[in-house]
């Protein structure tokens, strides 16, 4: 075979980038298209839990076993994306002893390391646990950064020759002679790396095979070839706290239920979640009661959450799938297993395989099995190496320590920068240019921001997910315009301003669900700074022309209108209130 089989992967979530990486490593000619930025759909909207499998140890042991295996693999290949927090399943007095025992047995049956802790031991580990908890089981849950994970996979895929296209939406599938032969892709307008070719152009990508990894949108893609894949999107809310109240993943030890997990993540903790089937993955209600439920229920495990500060809430949609005719009513009963649907076998329409279901923790395994399927199909005789080969950025932990000395940065900044950048630290931070902190909350420096801009152009939300800039207490209030400033002069001022407006609105969106107490104060401060101080809400730029001549041009110039007040401002001080009109004085 002289040419490599070509594959188009639809979807830039963890599954899609994982497949792109694996397939590219095995010699396929890979193109990946994503309609938003990487992680746009489900991956960017999860609570960042790297499952130990404990969650499924009773109800879904096949998933539990996959989780613990993948958990261990990701700790090796993606060290810079994983924080080994450990996890606890905490039993409250009203939770049954019977289920606690089932959990313990299930963990052991699935070979998930589990240690029982008495209440005092658990509280010694996590001092903010409720006084009245009975006991806890310790498991190897961890926190994972889905953004960094996806970016690292995408970089690796590109390093192996893949073409990664974000802001490129599949608008049709090409079906010829009873076979899917490619896709029509519409490139969104935008700047920098967002655009390839002409803004808004439509491209036909013809390939040997298509992989439909579009998550919650899988059904919509399949429908373009008149195939029926019934995804059951299920929404879940996550509420972000401004500090880490806990350093361990805290799970409630009960069969299932809303609001049963707290995941520490970087400088925050994330409360989750609900599980409710929705009709449309793009348009579903985001409701007040869901946020209240998170706080009230989880405060039963960690009471200080009741009065703690939340900075925003967001919702994600799980692309759940179950084979036809299973007949499950409750989305929490739908399996978290994943499914490969080869449409040649299933629908007699060759040319495409759909992968659906699963979870972030098992993304690599899903990719491996999908690419195994492709390899068999195209008779490609290479084996999967993704379980052994580290992702870019994770190879050398030593650089993290060295970074502090090398770059003369204050240690918390260097430490956190290096954690974000992994083994790319030296390359990014070794600059002779001034390197001020651009985002104070998250200590993100100019070098990191510029590195991210090189990757993502004017898409400041992509810069944000790469660097965490704008994700702290002030939610971009203090740094969004600083981030936009970094776009100039490579991009003109109008584009920098549009990018700022887009980021500012995106940051506002999630904060709306945290607007009481201190976060409402923060929102008012931000609003004041951007509207009052900078006049961004009524910015004359881009609007109609102002009559500048009518306004004051300074005391030494001729006053523009009116006879005005005495120039020295002192002659007419009212000390008797005599000039008041009497209504208030």
């Amino acid at each position: 075979m002289t040419t490599s089989p070509s594959v188009l992967v639809i979807g830039g979530g963890s599954t899609g980038v994982g497949i792109a990486r694996d397939a590219a490593m095995r010699g396929f000619d890979v193109t990946l298209v994503e309609k938003g930025n990487l992680t746009h759909g489900t991956t960017g909207r999860m609570h960042g839990l790297l499952h130990s499998g404990g969650r499924y140890a009773v109800s879904d042991q096949a998933s539990a076993r996959e989780c613990i295996e993948e958990n261990m693999i990701l700790r090796d290949i993606a060290t810079h994306c994983v924080e080994d927090t450990g996890g606890l399943f905490v039993k409250r007095p009203e939770d049954t002893e019977e289920y606690y025992q089932e959990k313990l047995d299930g963990l052991r049956e699935c070979s998930i390391p589990a240690t029982e802790l008495a209440a005092e031991e658990a509280r010694r580990k996590e001092p903010f646990l409720a006084r009245d908890i009975d006991k806890a089981i310790e498991v190897p849950d961890a926190a994972i950064d889905p953004f960094r994970l996806c970016v690292a996979n995408a970089i690796s895929a590109a390093n192996h020759g893949a073409r990664i296209e974000t802001f490129s939406e599949v608008t049709d599938l090409l079906v010829e002679d009873g076979e899917i032969v490619g896709a029509e892709v519409t490139h969104e307008s935008g700047e920098g790396n967002r655009v390839h070719g002409v803004e808004g152009s439509v491209e036909e990508i013809r390939v040997d095979h298509i992989v439909n990894a579009a998550g919650a949108w899988t059904g919509e893609i399949a429908a373009m070839a008149d195939i029926d894949v019934e995804v059951r999107p299920s929404k879940g809310v996550m509420t972000i706290m401004n500090v880490r109240q806990v350093d361990t993943v805290i799970n409630r030890c009960q069969p299932k239920g809303d609001a049963d997990i707290v995941v520490p993540h970087e400088t925050t903790a994330i409360l989750g979640t609900t599980d409710e089937e929705v009709g449309d993955p793009e348009d579903y209600p985001e409701e007040e009661w869901e946020v209240d439920l998170m706080i009230e229920e989880l405060a039963r495990l960690v009471p200080i959450l009741e009065d703690a500060r939340t900075i925003r809430s967001f919702w994600g949609v799980r692309p759940l799938y179950e084979p036809p005719d299973t007949g499950t009513d409750d989305p929490t009963d739908i399996t978290r297993e994943f499914f490969l649907l080869d449409h040649d076998e299933r629908d007699a329409l060759p040319g495409m395989t759909t992968i659906v279901g699963g979870k972030l923790t098992t993304y690599r395994l899903m990719a491996e099995q999908l690419v195994d399927h492709l390899a068999e199909k195209f008779d490609v005789d290479t084996t999967c190496r993704t379980a052994e080969e580290p992702l870019p950025g994770s190879e050398d932990e030593g650089v993290i320590d060295d970074a502090m000395d090398d770059f003369g940065l204050r240690s918390p900044i260097a430490k956190r920068s290096a954690e974000r950048l992994g083994s790319r630290t030296q390359e990014v931070l070794d600059t002779n240019e001034p390197n001020p902190v651009v985002c104070g909350c998250e200590a993100v420096t100019r070098a990191e921001v510029n590195d991210a801009i090189e990757q993502s152009g004017t898409d400041l939300n992509a810069v944000r997910i790469r660097t965490r800039a704008g994700m702290g207490n002030c939610q971009g209030g203090f740094c969004s315009h600083r981030l936009a400033n970094e776009l100039h002069p490579d991009f003109d001022e109008g584009r920098a301003r549009a990018a700022l407006d887009e980021l500012y609105q995106e940051r506002w969106k999630g904060q709306r669900h945290a607007l009481w107490g201190r976060q409402l104060s923060q929102a008012m401060i931000t609003y004041t700074m951007h509207a009052l101080t900078m006049n961004r809400d009524r910015d004359p730029a881009g609007g109609g022309a102002l009559d500048f001549g009518a306004f004051d041009s300074g005391p030494s110039n001729t006053p523009a209108t009116g006879d005005g007040q005495p120039a020295d401002g002192t002659a007419d001080v009212a000390t008797d209130g005599g000039r008041g009109d009497g209504r208030g004085d």
């Binding site: 104070g440 100019r446 001022e493 009052l532 004359p540 730029a541 006053p559 009212a574 008041g580 208030g584």
Partner: protein, 428 residues
């Protein structure tokens, strides 16, 4: 024994200072208490009266804010105190600020370039800002500093052009002559310019101001005025500006910045000094007011929490100038909105999701949270009766107007502070 005064002002921002000043100037015994540091030094230093009419979608800035006051709804703080009081309050502040502020020569608003590159309408501005006004047609050079991320000269220059100002703009970004830490606060630059130390390593005894001028000089070209971010000194801004103007042969101006703001700090210092001169007692950084006594519908004392012990402060009259949700004068939780010291009524939608709009710059209800006052500025309960006969409100703690959208923050604070202080003194 309670600490006594005729008038006790709670809150050290511009509303509290205006109230204390106006009361002290009538000869009353005035005490001002503020918790920790005030938010005034976060403010831009501009004194706005009214830049836009409320709910003015698409309407440009108003030229004459005093004229526009007549069109405001009756519930607006300006309508409550009246346009004459707005002028009187402003005249008092003009008097206090003297030559350090400009704008009183005309009723017209000035359009001031901001650190975001937009222009915003304002009634009064620091003298150092004057040469930068957007209605002036002299060519502008904007200067930024490499490590100062809050202001980008290139972005601001292009943005001013996009707004159509009648002047040509250009930009230069220079290294500040003494390389301060990569994330130094703006006050560090200001102090260096105040002190004007010798710059090391240049093989001469060149000082910071001269070295800064040298760094900018090659970029001046045809520009007749040069704008710097507002870091040109805390103590000696006029001298620094004069020296730079001499060396560069062009007018020099400052661009107001976000927090921490050097211009806001200068304004704060000046107003506190004026209150001190007027005989006001000042206790800033004491602690929060956490409790009060009342009898017969009158407040008899308030209690300051100072490191755990409660210190009573008694007065005849009280002015509440504690700010809005941003400043802590209005508090909220998931269930509702309150005025935390006296429990004054704060109208708000029951449903928390009606407190805001989906658009970042929408007409947010939270921006208008505050107490409702009668025509004597007394906070009223839900039934329209004054909560306490001897309590008045001033500034952002008063609700019902959206000062960021209107650009009316300091004007309302000055006018209501002035009126509340005078009334309190007269009745105290």
């Amino acid at each position: 024994m309670a600490i006594d005064s005729d008038v006790l002002v709670i809150g050290g921002g511009i509303a509290g200072l205006s109230a204390a000043l106006s009361a002290a100037r009538t000869g009353a015994d005035v005490r001002l208490v503020s918790e920790a540091e005030t938010t005034l030094h976060h403010a831009s230093g501009l004194l706005d009266v009214l830049g836009y009419p409320p709910n003015a979608d698409g309407d440009g800035p108003v030229v004459d804010p005093f004229d526009a006051i007549g069109d405001l709804p009756d519930s607006h703080p300006y309508a409550i105190v009246g346009a004459g009081t707005v002028r009187d309050g402003l005249a008092m502040i003009d008097d206090v600020l003297g030559e350090t502020y400009h704008g009183s020569h005309t009723d017209a608003n000035a359009l001031v370039p901001t650190h975001g590159g937009t222009v915003k309408p304002t009634a009064r501005y620091p003298a150092g800002v004057t040469a930068g006004l957007a209605s002036d047609d002299r060519d502008i050079l904007l200067v930024g500093f490499e490590r100062l991320t809050g202001f980008d000269a290139g972005v601001a220059a292009d943005h001013l052009e996009a707004a159509g100002i009648p002047a040509e703009t250009s930009a230069a970004t220079v290294e500040f002559p003494i390389v301060v830490r990569d994330d130094a606060k703006v006050t560090r630059y200001a102090h260096l310019l105040d002190e004007n130390p010798t710059v090391d390593g240049a093989g001469s005894d060149r000082r910071v101001r001269a070295a800064l001028a040298d760094a900018v000089e090659p970029s001046v070209g045809e520009a007749e005025r040069i704008g710097f971010p507002a870091v040109l000194g805390v103590d000696h801004p006029a001298a620094i500006r004069d020296e730079l103007e001499d060396r560069l042969g062009a007018a020099v101006f400052e661009i107001p910045m976000g927090p921490p703001s050097v211009l806001g700090g200068r304004l704060e210092d000046r107003l506190y000094a004026a209150l001190d001169d007027a005989g006001g007692q000042i206790e800033s950084g004491g602690g929060p007011i956490v409790d009060f006594d009342a009898e017969g519908g009158m407040i008899s004392a308030v209690y300051m929490d100072r490191s755990g012990s409660q210190i009573p402060y008694a007065a005849e009259q009280y002015v509440l100038a504690t700010g809005d949700v941003a400043g802590g004068g209005i508090d909220s939780d998931r269930d509702g909105v309150t005025e935390p010291i006296f429990g004054c009524h704060v109208p708000h939608p029951d449903d928390r999701y009606e407190w805001f709009e989906g658009e970042a710059f929408g007409e947010h209800a939270f921006a208008e949270f505050g107490v409702v006052v009668d025509d004597a500025l007394r906070p009223m309960d839900e039934g329209g009766t004054p909560e306490f006969a001897n309590l008045r409100a001033a500034g952002a703690v008063i609700g019902g107007y959206d000062y960021p959208a209107e650009k009316s923050a300091s004007g309302v604070s000055i006018a209501t502070g002035y009126a509340a202080g005078r009334r309190a003194a007269r009745e105290g």
